[in-house]
Symmetry: C2
Subunit: 416 residues, 2 copies
Amino acid sequence: MASSRGVRHDSMRARNLAVVLGEIRDAGPLTRAALAERTGLTKTTVSKLVSDLLDAGVVAENGAVRDGERGRPGVAVRLSGHRVATLGLEINVDYLAVCVVDLTLSVRLRRTKAAGNRDSRPERILAELRSLAESALMEAEAAGLRVAGAALAVPGPVEHGLLRNAPHLGWRDVRVTDLLDLPLEAAGPEARNFQAGNSEAAGFEAVGFEAVGFEAGNFEADNEANLAALGELWFGSGARDFLYVSGEIGIGAGLVVDGSVFRGTYGLAGELGHVVVAPDGPACRCGGRGCLEVYAGQDALLGEVGSIPELVARLEAGDPAALGACDTAGRALGLALTSAVHLLDPGMVVLGGVFAPLFPWLEGPARETLSARLGQMRRTPPRLAVSAIGADAAILGAAGLVIQRVFADPARALGL
Amino acid sequence: MASSRGVRHDSMRARNLAVVLGEIRDAGPLTRAALAERTGLTKTTVSKLVSDLLDAGVVAENGAVRDGERGRPGVAVRLSGHRVATLGLEINVDYLAVCVVDLTLSVRLRRTKAAGNRDSRPERILAELRSLAESALMEAEAAGLRVAGAALAVPGPVEHGLLRNAPHLGWRDVRVTDLLDLPLEAAGPEARNFQAGNSEAAGFEAVGFEAVGFEAGNFEADNEANLAALGELWFGSGARDFLYVSGEIGIGAGLVVDGSVFRGTYGLAGELGHVVVAPDGPACRCGGRGCLEVYAGQDALLGEVGSIPELVARLEAGDPAALGACDTAGRALGLALTSAVHLLDPGMVVLGGVFAPLFPWLEGPARETLSARLGQMRRTPPRLAVSAIGADAAILGAAGLVIQRVFADPARALGL
DNA sequence: GGATTATGTGCAGATTGTGGACTTAATGGT
DNA sequence: ACCATTAAGTCCACAATCTGCACATAATCC
């Protein structure tokens, strides 16, 4: 039906622009000669491509490389963050958040707004988020940044831009991106990929990136857990393969394999919270019994304690009820992770969200259970680590995702 | 490190060859004009590409299309299977198998050899398989087929061509592809992708295919469950998204999402057999407790019954012990699948291997458990179906995988 | 200060796709 | 029976892009 399209000269150029720009991103400042060697392109070609990237303001010359070697010194080219940026947005149960991130993944702006979004009408919340986003866009523009696109994190599964079900917001089948309707420019100056018969570049775009969930245009939405996992990928410890476990009101997870998120068939993968931990355990709100969420969800962890900081205080004071809740949660987490490791084969496991501050108390029982259960199946069980970034994971991941789109096809994103 | 390489004219051509050939495969016989319209290439370009594909013998003209329309009738071009074929191989605990499949996915040859491979030395088994493969290659050659490559299914996880661990064979860290050493031609007439600085085509190859586990060359190995899943994909019911559950001595699974297999970080994904079903259940040989395999593995199903056909006979006769075993296994399967559905988000679930003949007795308890547990999380639980192909799933998938490689880059595979 | 060495650019040439003109081969109306 | 119409496939000049080599440039080395 869609039938893959052939490629033409401009796609070749588009691809080579992406290769060169990607190499500059991955291997630090590089001279044109070094780029030529690494990419296999000739110096001539690299020169022309770099010249266009310079014009677009996405790279900058770094001054001569004085490396003490003989011969004419090269001029290194490095990524430049002062022209292109993207917007990350998040709707969560008790706050709205926005950030602006530039091409070098520097966070240029970050703004949070506390809000009681439990069971509110989508229109109201989205209007509130829009005003937050608009002020961020204005500020970015004032700083000379061109915002190339945006992505939105929501607390529930997203399929083709449609938020399927956000139980804690009380939303169902909401077209979040349409409703938000951000004032973003079209993808290129002439919105290349919408012109009839002119979308050849698309044939190469997908290389190395999953296209699922990427709606036409430059504004997309995805599950909070998936985007938080990407946040951990680009702003965290530097690992490229891991399962990010997001402890919020519910428990989600995002699997990153070789730098991209695994979403499953309908974008519903990673629902760690309802993995079976005890087949005859207590009933869960999902309809099942003995799901992980029953033992390690925020409600189970808190019990009658009011908040996570308060829980941490009690744990530090040695409160037996709090310690017991964490021990139970940790062991349940270990069981759920056993199944997850067997099925998903993650490179490591990163605990984020509310699990991050509780990590010292969860780690022991979780690791113990996981190690004992995995037994002979693996040389070593995957490493268990705490997330390096805090509550911002999802917005950062959202903004980073759009940055990735720019790197995947700079020609399209920048109109080159 | 590897650093992605730039693309040149020949990569553009390679890609367009793949696009045209793929379109012919997917959309049946098509005229050059129809191909031009579908691919967005000009009639001129399509003509040249089709001419090369005709020369390579991978497509053939189908005679004039007399569709009653006005104007000159086109000549439809269709896939041709009488030149290029691939080899599928399998080592399992109690048999060896080989098949030859042509470009149209017609099975040209199939040969099985019963063998007691439990705890045998790899060298002996591999030599036996080689002689089986060599006779298949000779026969294929005699039929005028060019064997473009081979793939091998083994009962254990494979990482970069290395069989990590096959517990029932008693093998560990065996370089199966090296040891087998098949007499295959190099990838192209001049083995294009091995020439220094001449591997540009690789830049496009990966589009739409996972490259993990694809060793340089044209002979690769993978887990039996993954390849059986691909067999189900290309030779089964036609679904493009499903979890194939392979009931053999152990229980494995292969997830297919949008036509390609999900392998996880180290190729170990899909170990359904050791998903936690009951945290305090009986000990499993893996070191854990209450794994699915304990309840639904072949040993648990058979009990003191000698074989699967005998078990089926007892089930049909209403033997209560047999019925009880299937009920237990079905319910355990339902629990494990609940976790798998939450984590992997498969489009449907296909039961294969020994589960296929037992499907009538497993289906009820499994579906019931799965439906009850998934509850509100999904509109409908994924469909539970029986595999359409029998014991050949893995060899067919292996051969089909290599066919896919040919379609992914016909220029490389055929030396165009 | 000249030889040496490496960078970056200019120019001719190669490869491949494009676009429109042209040939070919059918249908259909008169 | 004949010619207009329509669509398929091919031919040829042209355009886009990369390559390879020559060359100017700018350092270090002796």
